[in-house]
Every structure is written in structure tokens, then in C-alpha cells.
């Protein structure tokens, strides 16, 4: 923004922690859906999605196709930005700060530094403070979440196990994060220094979490949500909203399933509404049992 404020003459400031984290606050209670075409983006928007994640292949197809998964084609991302008025997110590879620069230049509203794509750096994540565009990152536990926040992430999601249609890993990660926050709450000031060491996260953020009893940024669930009940489960476990990847457009009736997952996410504590939302949705995505998945194909192990 280059406009000056007539009342005070103060220059407006973009890219502050408050507008980055505040953006995620506006998404709370909502569903963010993976889409691969402008038409899918419109279906998602019409179903009540709060944002879409623009990508070339949903995680289930990335799994099936194999090879290196990268940032999507800018044309495809711009097509999706043009098709909808809700926020558009896109994924960069872990540590691939140039992909992130490209996504920022395209005007995406959030960048997901994502383990679903093939990592570009096996040591470092991107310095997310360097960007105006906010970042969301995955985490399997509290220490990982706090390291991402220290690097500038303005939103955290569970990693789950994307592209499996199996919610078990997302449940594990959310419970783990919740459990570790609850434990911090019980620590006195002397213990927080050792806790920071153990979590491998900066003391200041550890102390903030101990005081707040929650992360200082919004926490969503991702990775394996396939049904309305899955979405409601994640919310009851403390997720403030839900990412749905392959679960919608790999199912029999995407428009219907998308709307049903939105309903169940809003009324997650009302089993009657979740029941109604679950009726006659057609085929869910088939799903993969995590214990049949070779360790090398566990996306959640990417990032550190």
C-alpha cells in the first residue's frame, strides 16, 4: 500500500504478523479444499469452502504417480485465482524459497510449505519472515509446530497422512499437539527452559504457549479427512478448521460431499446434523491403511 493516511499521515504496513495470523483467524470454523482446476474451485466455493488449495495433482494422485512433486504451473494457479473470490492457497516444496517467491508474485493468499511435495532441502525450511504472503506448515507434534512458528509460519496444520483417506495420522498428530500443550500448562517457570530444550523450540514461544494454553497461531487439521464425521472428529479434537485434500474430488459426488463436510465442520458438536450430512454421499475415496504403506512413502516424515 502506498496510500498515506489523511488523519495521521502514517504509512500503512503490509505483511505484519498481525495481518498474516489474522488472515488465518478469518478461516476458522471452515473447510479448505484441494482443487486442481478452476471448475473444481467453483464447486468448492459453491459448497461453502472458506479457501481453496490450488495444486496440479491431489495427494492421492501424487502417491499413485510417484516421481518428484513440485509447485504447480503458474497458469493453473492464476486460472483458479480468477475463478473464485475466496482466498487461494498454493504449495511450495519444503525449503524451496524460490517456489515460495514465485507463489507470492502470483498473488496467492497463503503458501503451504508442504510435505506432500518432494522436499527441496533436507536441512532447512524456508525463512517465512522474509515474505509478505503468510505461510501454513504441517506438524506432527508441538516441537515441530513451534519450530515452524519460529521460522515465521502464521498457521499450523496437522500433517496427517495426505492422500490416504485415512484419518488416523491426523488424529495422532492433533492429540499429540494437544497433549504436549496441556503438559506445558502444568510446568512452572523453572521447567519451561528444559521443556524448550526438549521441544527443540525457542523458549519465548514455549513460554507463550504455556501461558495461552494454545498455539499463538490458528491450528487446522489436514491429511486423511474423507467424510463429514472425520471433519467433525477433528474439530472435536481441537482443530479450528479442516483441510480436505483428495477426500472430495476423489469421491463419487464431489459437490455433495464438499457441502456435507462444510456442514459437519460448522455443526461438529451436533450429531444429528453430522448424521444428516452423512446420508447418501455416494462412494467415499477408497483409502489406504497406513500400516500397508512403506515407511519411505509416509509424507509426515518429511520436514523436521
Amino acid at each position: 500500500m502506498s496510500t498515506t493516511l489523511p488523519t495521521t499521515g502514517q504509512t500503512p504496513e503490509t505483511g505484519t504478523a498481525r495481518v498474516k495470523r489474522g488472515m488465518a483467524e478469518q478461516l476458522k470454523g471452515g473447510v479448505i479444499m484441494d482443487v486442481v482446476t478452476p471448475d473444481q474451485a467453483k464447486i468448492a466455493e459453491d459448497a461453502g469452502a472458506v479457501a481453496v488449495m490450488a495444486l496440479e495433482r491431489v495427494p492421492a494422485d501424487i502417491r499413485k504417480d510417484g516421481g518428484v512433486a513440485r509447485m504447480s504451473d503458474p497458469d493453473m494457479i492464476e486460472g483458479i485465482i480468477a475463478a473464485v473470490s475466496i482466498p487461494v492457497m498454493a504449495k511450495s516444496r519444503i525449503g524451496h524459497f524460490v517456489e515460495a517467491q514465485v507463489l507470492q508474485s502470483l498473488g496467492v493468499d497463503y503458501i503451504d510449505e508442504s510435505e506432500v511435495l518432494t522436499p527441496a532441502d533436507e536441512v532447512n525450511h524456508s525463512d517465512k519472515w522474509a515474505f509478505t504472503t503468510p505461510f501454513v506448515c504441517g506438524a506432527t507434534n508441538l516441537g515441530e509446530a513451534l519450530r515452524r512458528i519460529a521460522e515465521g509460519a502464521a498457521m499450523i496444520r496437522s500433517k496427517g497422512e495426505a492422500g490416504t483417506g485415512n484419518v488416523v495420522e491426523a488424529v495422532r498428530h492433533l492429540r499429540q499437539i494437544r497433549h504436549e500443550i496441556a503438559r506445558l500448562r502444568g510446568y512452572d517457570n523453572n521447567e519451561l527452559y528444559a521443556a524448550a530444550k526438549e521441544l527443540r523450540a525457542p523458549y519465548e514461544i514455549v513460554k507463550e504457549v504455556a501461558e495461552l494454553g494454545k498455539l499463538p497461531v490458528v491450528l487446522f487439521s489436514a491429511g486423511g479427512v474423507a467424510t463429514p464425521a472425520d471433519a467433525a472428529l477433528m474439530r472435536q479434537l481441537g482443530a479450528e478448521g479442516v483441510f480436505v485434500g483428495s477426500g472430495i474430488f476423489k469421491s463419487g459426488d464431489p459437490a455433495k460431499r464438499a457441502a456435507a463436510i462444510v456442514k459437519a465442520t460448522t455443526f461438529y458438536d451436533d450429531p444429528k446434523i453430522v448424521a444428516d450430512a452423512s446420508r447418501n454421499l455416494g462412494e467415499a475415496m477408497v483409502g489406504i491403511n497406513i500400516d500397508t504403506l512403506p515407511a519411505s512413502e509416509h509424507y509426515a516424515n518429511r520436514g523436521w
Partner: protein, 201 residues
Amino acid sequence: MAGDQGAAGGPLIGVLALQGDVREHLAALTAAGAVPRAVRRPDELAAVDGLVIPGGESTTMSKLAVLFGMLEPLRARVRAGMPVYGTCAGMILLAEKILDPRSGQETVGGIDMIVRRNAFGRQNESFEAAVDVTGVGPVDGVFIRAPWVESVGAEVEVLAEHGGHVVAVRQGNALATAFHPELTGDHRLHGFFTEMVRSAR
């Protein structure tokens, strides 16, 4: 229609909890001396003395309001003079008209204005700036993919502008800001609204 007084004696103010930054508004209302309550259903709406429509995605909120039979009860109570305060997406929902609505995007109405969605730009253009609000004073304005008010009717009082665009308005018992005081820890606007609710009771 008036709700129970809370233990603290403050008015009972609902926050429309279909989607958005509900928790921040509940906290700000508590700090401002009101008794806040999340509202998702018509019977919950009937119990409150005033209502905040939070920030969020206006298209999503509007769809959920229609889906869960909240739109008509909201319109009826706002028409009947229930005090209501909308921030960002909430401002859009209080507009009589949206300049560029998504197909089928409904509003509650209550303020005779036309709003432009995402008028200040996408997230990269989101910003913070001081805003001087009539009756409240200078506040830290947090604008996130924010709308602005394109034009207002004769009954609408403009409370603040930024960069030549109207960003805060009031018409009778309806108040709206394009920015998010609930994200700042400064509760004066929520105090201002709580007073509106008190004097309307």
C-alpha cells in the same frame, strides 16, 4: 425478546458463530463488560440483546446462514432494531447491496450502503493503519482482504475513512467496520457497541 442479564449485569451479546474469528469477538465483548454467547441457531438468536457478525468469508457465512435457516431470523431481528455490529465479512452481510456479489450471495441488510468486497486487494495487500473513528478516537485498523463502502444512503453516518474510502459506518442500531478491532486487544469499539446495546434495551 430481551435476554437474561449476565452475572456481571452486562447485556447479553451474541456472536454469529457459523464461521470466522468468533473467539476473538467473544473475548473482546467480555473485556468490554458484555456477556457474550456464540449464536448458531434461531433460538439462540432470539435470546440475545445484540449481535456481532464476525470477520470470516462472507460467501461462506451467507451460504451457511441460508442453509441453517438463520437468514430470515437475522433479517427480522435487525429490521426490528436489534443492535448489530459487523466487522469485515460482517460489514458485507449488513450491506443492503454488494457491488460484485457471487451468484446467490445473500445479505442480512440493515445499513443502506453498497460495499465492494476485497476492495483493498488480496492478502499481500492486507495492512495495518491508524484509523480515526468518530465517537471512539484513533484505533489501530487491521485490514485483511478488506471491503470498503462504495456509497451510502442519507440515513448512514460515516464514522471513518481510510485513503479516501469509507471504512466505518453507523445507521441507527447497526454498526460496521471494514477492519478487525477484535484482533488488536483494544476493546473500545466493542465498548462503544456494548453501550449501543445497553441504551437499546
